[in-house]
Symmetry: C2
Subunit: 504 residues, 2 copies
C-alpha cells in the first residue's frame, strides 16, 4: 500500500472508533437525563462493554502498523495539512496509549474507582483521612504515569499535556503567578468596597417554565443550533457530542436562583457552539476535533462572561427577561441587574465562585497538584496547605474539609493537570474577545443590538474550523496576534468591576 491508501484505511478506522465512542456518549447522556431509576446496573454493563471495545481499538496493533508506515511529512502543506494533522495527532494519541503499561492502566482504574467512592464518603463525613491513603496511591500512580509518558522539565508536564497539548509548567507558571498577584489585591479591594451588588434580586421567584423558555431563547440567540442539538435537565450540567450534528447540552433549574440555569446554559451553549462549529467532514478525526480543554473552556467562558455578563448584553436582553418574569422584576432597573450578575466576593466553593475569584480557586489547585506530583508536598499535609492558600489568596478559610480540600471530584478520579485548563479558558476567552472586538469594529455595539452572529462566525473561522491543525497556543496567537498572557483578562475584569465597586 502507498501512503495515501494507508492513510485512507487509518482514517476509516479512527472514524469508526469515534462513532463507537459516540454510542457510548449516547448511553451516558441518557443515563444523566432520562434513564429510569433502577436501570443503572444494566447501563453499567452496556457502558463497560462499549468502553472495552473503544479501548481495544485505540491500542489496536493494526493502528500501530499503519502509523509506522506513514510519514506525516508526505502530507504537509497546503490543502493536505488536514491529512498531516491526522497522522500527527493519531500518532500522538497512539504513542501516549502505548507508553502506558497495561498494569498501570488497570491499577489506575482500580485506584480511581475506589478513590471516587471513598472521596464521596469522606466528603459526606467531612473526614479527609478516609480518602488520604487512596489519594496517596493515586498520586503515586500518576507519578508513574508521568514517568512512563516522559517529560522534559517537570513530571506535571506529562499530565497537563493530556488535556492541553503543548502546554508546560514553565510556560504557565509565570502567567498564573502574574494573574494571582494582580487578582489578589483587586479582590481584596472589592471585599473592602462599600458598594454591594444587589444579589438578592437573583434570588426572587423565577418560575422554572419561564426560565426554560428564556434560557433556550438565549442559547439560540448566541448561536446554538437546536436543529443540531438539544437542551435537557441534569443534576450536573454538561455538554456532550453524540455526533457531528448532535450536540447536547444540559442545565438545572432552581426557582429561587436566576443565575444558575441562565449563565449555566450560556456556558454549555458556548461549549456546544464550538462542537457545532467543527468541520463535520472531518468528524471523529483530529481536524474535526476540538484542540484542547482550555480552548473548549474559553468558548464557554466567553459566551458566559465576556458576553453574558456584559453591560451591552443586558441592555439588549434585560427587557426580555423582565417581560418573562414580569411580576418578579417590575421594580428592577437594568443597572442594578447588571451589578447583581457581576457580584464578586471571596467564597469557599469553586463551582459557585464568581468570574473574578474563580481563577484563584484554580491557581490554588494548580500549585498544590504540582507540588503533589513533584513530591514536594505529601498527601497528609495537603489539607493544611489548602487552607493556608485560601487564607493567603482569598482571605477566608474552610470550616471543614468538605468545603475545603474535599470539594472537587477531580483528584479522586485521577484528573491531575486538568484544573489549569479552566483558567486557561478564561485567559483565552479574554484575549479572543478583545481580538474579535478589534476586528469586528466594536462588539459592545453589536451585542447591545442582539447581534451575536458576527462573533460566533469569527470564532468558527479562527478556532472551531481549525480543529487540531494547530496547537491551542498557536491557534490563539494567530487569532489574537498576542502571546498568552493574563493582561486581557485583568483588563476585562478591572474595566467592568472598578466602576461597579467604585475602585480607584
Amino acid at each position: 500500500m502507498n501512503q495515501t491508501e494507508t492513510l485512507t484505511q487509518l482514517k476509516a478506522f479512527v472514524r469508526q472508533s469515534a462513532t463507537l465512542e459516540s454510542v457510548l456518549a449516547t448511553l451516558e447522556w441518557d443515563q444523566q437525563t432520562y434513564m429510569p431509576d433502577q436501570a443503572g446496573e444494566h447501563r453499567s454493563e452496556q457502558v463497560a462493554m462499549l468502553a472495552a471495545m473503544v479501548h481495544q481499538r485505540k491500542t489496536d496493533a493494526q493502528l500501530g502498523e499503519w502509523l509506522s508506515n506513514l510519514d506525516e511529512g508526505e502530507f504537509a502543506g497546503g490543502d493536505e495539512n488536514d491529512d498531516a494533522t491526522t497522522v500527527r495527532m493519531v500518532r500522538r494519541a497512539f504513542e501516549r496509549q502505548s507508553k502506558m503499561p497495561e498494569s498501570l492502566v488497570t491499577n489506575l482504574a482500580k485506584a480511581c474507582s475506589k478513590g471516587q467512592q471513598q472521596w464521596a464518603r469522606a466528603r459526606h463525613e467531612q473526614r479527609f483521612d478516609l480518602f488520604a491513603d487512596t489519594l496517596e496511591e493515586i498520586v503515586r500512580l500518576k507519578q508513574q504515569q508521568a514517568d512512563a509518558i516522559g517529560f522534559e522539565a517537570s513530571p506535571y508536564d506529562a499530565l497537563l499535556d493530556e488535556y492541553e497539548p503543548g502546554m508546560t509548567v514553565a510556560k504557565l507558571t509565570p502567567i498564573l503567578a502574574g494573574l494571582r498577584s494582580d487578582l489578589v489585591p483587586l479582590i481584596a479591594a472589592i471585599a473592602d468596597s462599600s458598594c454591594h451588588a444587589p444579589v438578592e434580586l437573583l434570588h426572587r421567584i423565577f418560575p422554572v417554565a419561564q426560565q426554560e423558555v428564556i434560557g433556550r431563547q438565549a442559547a439560540s440567540e448566541i448561536g446554538f443550533d437546536f436543529e443540531r442539538g438539544r437542551l435537557d435537565v441534569t443534576h450536573h450540567p454538561f455538554c456532550t457530542e453524540l455526533g457531528p450534528d448532535d450536540t447536547r447540552i444540559t442545565t438545572r433549574y432552581d426557582e429561587s436562583f436566576f443565575s444558575g440555569s441562565f449563565f449555566g446554559t450560556l456556558h454549555e451553549a458556548g461549549h456546544g457552539i464550538y462542537q457545532q462549529g467543527l468541520r463535520s467532514a472531518w468528524y471523529g478525526l483530529p481536524p474535526g476535533t476540538y484542540v484542547s480543554l482550555g480552548m473548549h473552556e474559553s468558548q464557554s467562558r466567553l459566551w458566559e462572561n465576556q458576553v453574558g455578563r456584559s453591560q451591552p448584553f443586558w441592555q439588549y436582553y434585560f427587557p426580555k427577561v423582565q417581560a418573562a418574569f414580569a411580576s418578579t422584576l417590575q421594580d428592577v432597573t437594568v443597572d442594578s441587574w447588571f451589578f447583581a450578575v457581576n457580584h464578586v466576593a471571596p467564597s469557599l466553593i469553586r463551582v459557585e465562585a464568581d468570574e473574578a475569584t474563580y481563577n484563584l480557586h484554580i491557581i490554588i489547585r494548580f500549585e498544590l497538584e504540582q507540588s503533589l506530583i513533584g513530591g514536594q508536598l505529601s498527601v497528609k499535609d495537603l489539607p493544611e496547605a489548602w487552607n493556608q492558600k485560601y487564607r493567603d489568596y482569598l482571605g477566608i478559610e474552610p470550616a471543614n474539609d468538605a468545603e475545603g480540600v474535599l470539594q472537587d471530584v477531580h483528584w479522586s478520579a485521577g484528573l491531575f493537570g486538568y484544573f489549569p485548563t479552566y483558567t486557561l479558558g478564561n485567559l483565552y476567552a479574554a484575549q479572543l474577545f478583545d481580538a474579535a472586538d478589534r476586528e469586528l469594529g466594536g462588539l459592545p455595539a453589536l451585542m447591545a443590538q442582539g447581534e451575536f452572529t458576527p462573533l460566533r462566525d469569527w470564532l468558527h473561522e479562527k478556532i472551531h474550523r481549525k480543529g487540531q491543525t494547530l496547537d491551542a497556543a498557536t491557534m490563539a496567537r494567530q487569532a489574537t496576534g498576542e502571546e498568552l498572557s493574563h493582561q486581557a483578562l485583568l483588563r476585562h475584569l478591572r474595566a467592568k468591576l472598578a466602576p461597579l465597586y467604585q475602585l480607584d
Copy 2:
C-alpha cells in the same frame, strides 16, 4: 470442556449479544423520542455499526461449535429446564440464521430498503403500480427464504414460525375461519343496529397535560413500574426493552381525541408489564425472553380491551377521568362513556379499527399473504383481491389503494407471517382473561375497585415468568386448560356488544 462449562460460555456469549442489542435499542429509542432533527445521518451510521456487530455474533462460528457439543437432553427436567430451554432456543435461532444464504440476506435487505421507500411514495401518490415490481421481488425472496428454512405443509409456515414459534397454517386456518364466520354477521348486525355509540364524546377537548397525567396514572395502576420504565411521546407508539430494568413505552397525544393516547398507553403498558415480568436473572437468554409476538400482543390487548374497555374498569376509573377533564365531561354519564369507548363500525384503516372489526382486517391480510407466498395470487391481482375481501367481510370498499392495500408498511419491510400474531393476541387475551377470572374468583369485582394487582401477578406467574420454557400454545393451554379457539373472544365481544347495540 464438559457440557456445563460449554453451556456457561454459551450463555455468557448470548447474554453479551443481548446487551449489545439493548444498546441498539437505546439508539433507536432516542431516535424516536429526543434526537435532534438533523442528527439522523450519523445515527444511521451508529445503528449500522452496532447492527453489523450483532449480526456477526448471531452467526459466529464459535456459537455453532458450542451448540454442536451441547445436548439439551443433558439439562432436561426439574430446575435445569431453563438450561435445556437455553440450548434448544439458541440452537433454533442459530439454525434459522445458518440456513439463510448470505446472498439471500443481502438481497432481502436491499429489496426491503427499496421497498419501504417505494411504498411510502406509492401510498402518498395512491399508486400501487409504483411499488408492485419490488413487492413481487420481496414475495419471491420470502418464498426463497421459506424454502431455505424448510417447512412441512406450507411455505407460509416457515415465515409464521419466525414470529410465532410452533404455529402453522394448518392449526391457525380453522380457528380464523371460525372467527370470521361468527364475526361477519355480528358486525353486520351492529352496523344495522339503530343504537349508536356517542363517539363524539371522545372528540371533545382534552388538554394534553391532563391526558398525560391520566395516562401515566392508568399505566401505573395496572402495574407498569415507572422505576423500571418510562413513558414518552413518539409519532408511532411502541414498547422497547433497553435492559432488564428499563422498559420504555411511548404514546402520542391529540387534544381532540381521548382514546388514541389513553388506550394506546394501556396497550403499550400491557406490553411493558410483560417485559417487566420476565425473569431478570435470565435477561438476554430464552428463559428470560418473551415467547412469541402473539403472546406479547395478548398482553397489550388484554389490558387495553378486556380490562380497559370493560364496564367495571370505567365504573372505577371514569370519576378520575371526569375530575381530570371537569369542564369537558361534566355532563357525561359513565354509561354513555362506556358505550362511546366500545363504538364498533366497519372502517378501512386497520390501525384505527375497533376491537371487533380489527380481527377482520387481520384475517384479510392473513388470507392474502398466504396466497401470495403460496403462489396462488399474483402481486398484480392483489389490489382487487384486497378490495373484494373488504366488500365481503366488512361491507365497505377503499376509494383508493392508499386506504386499501397500501396502508400497512409490513409487506414492504418483508414482514410476511407477522399479521396473524395480532389476532392471535386477541384470542389468547380472551382465553387468558377468562381463566384468570375463574381462578381469581371474579375479575369484574376486582376491577371495579381498582384492584389490578391480582391479574397482573397471575399473568406474571402463568406467562411472563415462563419465558420461552414452553411454546406459546402450550403455555396458553397450561394457563387456561383449553386449546386455542375463537370462542372466548367471541363470547367476550358478544357479551359486551349485544346489550349496547341491543342485538338479539
